[in-house]
């Protein structure tokens, strides 16, 4: 089965407008120069020590993720539509969270089955009935998108907890500007370096009502052994806030305090990069050493804000994903700007029948899986692999969803033989606080293996700088 892939740079022999200048740049670059630059980029990444895996991808935490120097480009018009769709989705996901921890109107209205929400492992009874400042649960929404045509974008998944990888967006740009300053004079590219400041302002805007004066924001990390520790310290640095571990904080008198050399300092907003289960041993896992005992009591009595809010994960589950278009209609009264990938729930008998009949054409994923593991790409699997996977699905249908194999767009990528098209996806980072903000850009992941549709870094994926052209 031959699938037509949309090439973001070429349509036949024609170069699409946004890539016109890059065509000249590419043609004018001698191979030795390119190799030299590639080595330079790698040395720069190593020097800054950015070697972590994107959230949940697994793999060797100290391995350098390959950086591809060929930028991925969007026009202003393309971006505007993406921006509208992403912000719309971020608003709907937050409205959903506020609702399911409140009156549950969308469930009463019969638009989402109660079971999917209230029996979901990510639903936290501990925060039901509590409204976080400004009603925001997910302050950083990472939305994974793929493109299949000039105007066709699909949302692969939503990340409402602590989507990582934004440091790549910032570093990729930084390194490109350092290595190819001329490119940034020839092309008018929207900047992304305002992200840390926007993030700090977003977090400050959700400080609790009890906060007086300028809110104190901290980033809570599980520690240096965490694969994304680099990103935690990088963001703390750029935002000008403290990077803390659980042991640096304590609760007293209804507030959270940070130990400093000048004595305890009150903390108003915690941007946590640890999972709900580890936040507070008195409320969640009693054996957690990473969190702060008593934190949830302070949070629920309005003494501190936590971003993302505990319980936000119930909105980004793969089973809930199917209902996001419905959320957009229900809460916003709008039609979705960005489409979902059609999804079959193997837990439904009809869907299961379809999936088993078409296994060789579909992508099948575990409901709670991530990182491209526990996943079947039908068209690229052997008969034996298909049969093995079929048995797994039949044994536990509720654990799987299936989607059509998407014809992911390609962009030119530097490979050993020169330049070749490789498949890409996109993760933009939408900020939700007093306002909804989106910097023009995101993290483009690229499948470096010829023909591969899996962009995860744990499976041979790399990253690219992502441009939005100013008109």
């Amino acid at each position: 089965m031959a699938i037509e892939f949309f090439n973001e740079m070429y349509q036949g022999s024609q170069v699409r407008a946004p890539y016109a200048r890059l065509e000249d740049w590419m043609r004018a670059m001698p191979a030795e120069f390119r190799q030299m630059k590639q080595a330079e980029a790698e040395a720069l990444f190593r020097r800054i020590g950015i070697t972590f895996a994107v959230y949940g991808e697994g793999g060797d935490p100290d391995r350098l993720i390959p950086f591809d120097m060929f930028p991925r480009v969007f026009t202003q018009v393309e971006w505007h539509r993406l921006e509208r769709g992403i912000k719309q989705r971020a608003r709907a996901l937050n409205a959903f969270l506020l609702d399911v921890y409140g009156r549950g109107e969308i469930i009463r209205a019969g638009r989402i089955p109660a079971r999917l929400v209230y029996q979901n492992a990510a639903y936290e009874r501990a925060v039901a009935g509590f409204t976080p400042p400004r009603g925001v649960y997910s302050h950083i929404v990472g939305i994974d998108l793929v493109r299949t045509g000039p105007d066709d974008f699909f949302v692969l998944e939503d990340n409402c907890r602590t989507p990582s990888g934004v440091s790549y967006m910032l570093e990729n740009r930084e390194i490109m500007m350092r290595m190819f300053p001329a490119l940034f004079r020839e092309n008018r590219i929207e900047p992304v370096d305002g992200y840390p400041d926007l993030l700090r302002r977003t977090l400050a805007s959700v400080a609790p009502a009890k906060c007086e004066g300028e809110p104190v924001v901290v980033i809570l990390t599980p520690g240096h052994f965490n694969s994304a520790y680099y990103e935690h310290s990088f963001l703390a640095d750029l935002m000008g806030v403290e990077l803390v571990e659980g042991a640096d904080l304590f609760v007293e008198g209804g507030f959270v305090w940070m130990r400093t050399t000048e004595g305890p300092k009150k903390v108003d907003v915690i941007y946590r990069r640890i999972d709900d289960a580890y936040l507070d041993p008195l409320c969640f896992r009693p054996d957690s050493m990473l969190g702060i005992a008593g934190l949830m009591d302070v949070y629920r009595s309005g003494g501190v804000s936590i971003a993302s809010a505990p319980g936000a994960g119930v909105a980004d589950d793969k089973a809930i994903y199917t209902f996001v278009p419905e959320m957009i209609r229900f809460y916003l009264g709008e039609e979705p700007v960005l489409q979902n990938v059609p999804t079959w729930q193997c837990g439904k008998p009809d869907d299961l029948g379809h999936v088993l009949d078409h296994l060789a054409e579909l992508v099948v994923k575990e409901v709670h899986g991530s990182g491209g593991y526990g996943m079947l790409v039908g068209p690229r699997s052997s008969a034996a692999q298909l049969e093995a996977f079929r048995a797994r699905v039949i044994a536990n249908p509720g654990n799987y969803i299936a989607q059509p194999t998407l014809a992911l767009s390609t962009t030119p990528t530097f490979v050993n033989e020169g330049i070749a098209p490789r498949h890409v996806d996109l993760r933009p980072y939408c900020l939700v606080g007093e306002r909804i903000e989106l910097v023009p850009g995101g993290l483009t992941r690229v499948a470096l293996t010829d023909g591969s549709l899996v962009v995860n870094s744990s499976q041979g994926g790399g990253v690219k700088d992502t441009w939005v052209l100013a008109e």
Partner: protein, 270 residues
């Protein structure tokens, strides 16, 4: 009835600790069956933290104690006016829907024996309420009251296999079998006034609540083969004993902990 409660819990540490933090669920629930006339919760030498009513309707209070500390005492005292509502939790306000209590947690994970117990017990039931009563009776018959036979982390399946346990085990086993029978069910902690040396009773008590459509949450005390009446004071709920614990605490430091509890519940007729 007017019930008078005096409850002291003391944690002693073998070495001085750097500090302690507690989350207390020690205030009587607000519903038609009970109203606190006066009620005090105090952690000796502690600093009161935030307090709030959670999604399940429970009043929660955070406390902390600065170190060095060798001993922490939580004192509860007060008077509650109670009425017999035959176990029905009428007039209780909460946000968490019953559907959130359909899933098991570790201690209420059903095994084959619990599934069999629930299926046999519920077989001849005339309606949902009857089925819930039959489940409670079956759990009572299968697990004899014997203090010391089980421990804090014994699961429902283990207690059933043993055939012995205390109120916590009865509650866990009833929750597990109610889940098997398709009910939402949860764990409740509270106090019980005992007017005689009637054996199967503990002043610091626990029981289960089962959701019956049309009636709402109904308490079932399998340990005492009855539904909570005016001898009971309800404090808080959760999926299991750990979640519903009236005191959750953590002391920071190297010392080991020992616990001493004194509870007295007295009654005076109005």
């Amino acid at each position: 009835m007017i019930l008078t409660v005096s409850h002291a819990t003391t944690y002693r540490y073998s070495a001085p600790m750097r500090g302690a933090v507690q989350s207390l669920r020690l205030t009587p629930s607000r519903f038609d069956g009970q109203a606190a006339r006066e009620w005090q919760v105090e952690v000796e030498g502690g600093i009161r933290g935030g307090s709030f009513r959670d999604g399940a309707g429970d009043r929660v209070e955070g406390w902390s104690v600065r170190g060095p500390v060798r001993e922490v005492t939580v004192r509860v005292s007060g008077q509650v006016e109670t009425r017999d509502l035959h176990g029905v939790l009428a007039g209780h306000r909460e946000t968490v829907p019953a559907e959130a209590y359909l899933c098991a947690s570790t201690p209420t994970e059903p095994d084959a024996a619990l599934v069999a117990l629930a299926q046999e017990a519920a077989a001849g039931a005339s309606d949902a309420l009857d089925r819930a009563h039959l489940l409670a009776a079956a759990v009572r018959a299968a697990i004899a009251y014997r203090p010391g036979a089980t421990h804090a982390h014994t699961t429902a399946a283990e207690a059933l296999a043993l055939g012995e346990g205390v109120c916590q085990d009865h509650a866990h086993a009833l929750i597990a079998s109610a889940h098997v029978a398709g009910f939402a069910a949860r764990y409740v902690s509270g106090y019980l006034f005992s007017d005689a040396a009637a054996g199967a009773q503990e002043a610091a008590h626990a029981w289960a609540e089962i959701w019956v459509n049309g009636l709402g949450w109904i308490g079932f005390d399998a340990a005492n083969a009855c539904c909570p009446d005016d001898r009971y004071i309800r404090l808080g709920s959760g999926r299991d004993a750990q979640e519903a614990a009236p005191i959750k605490g953590l002391a920071m430091g190297p010392g080991s902990e020992s616990l001493e509890v004194a509870v007295a519940v007295g009654a005076s007729q109005q």
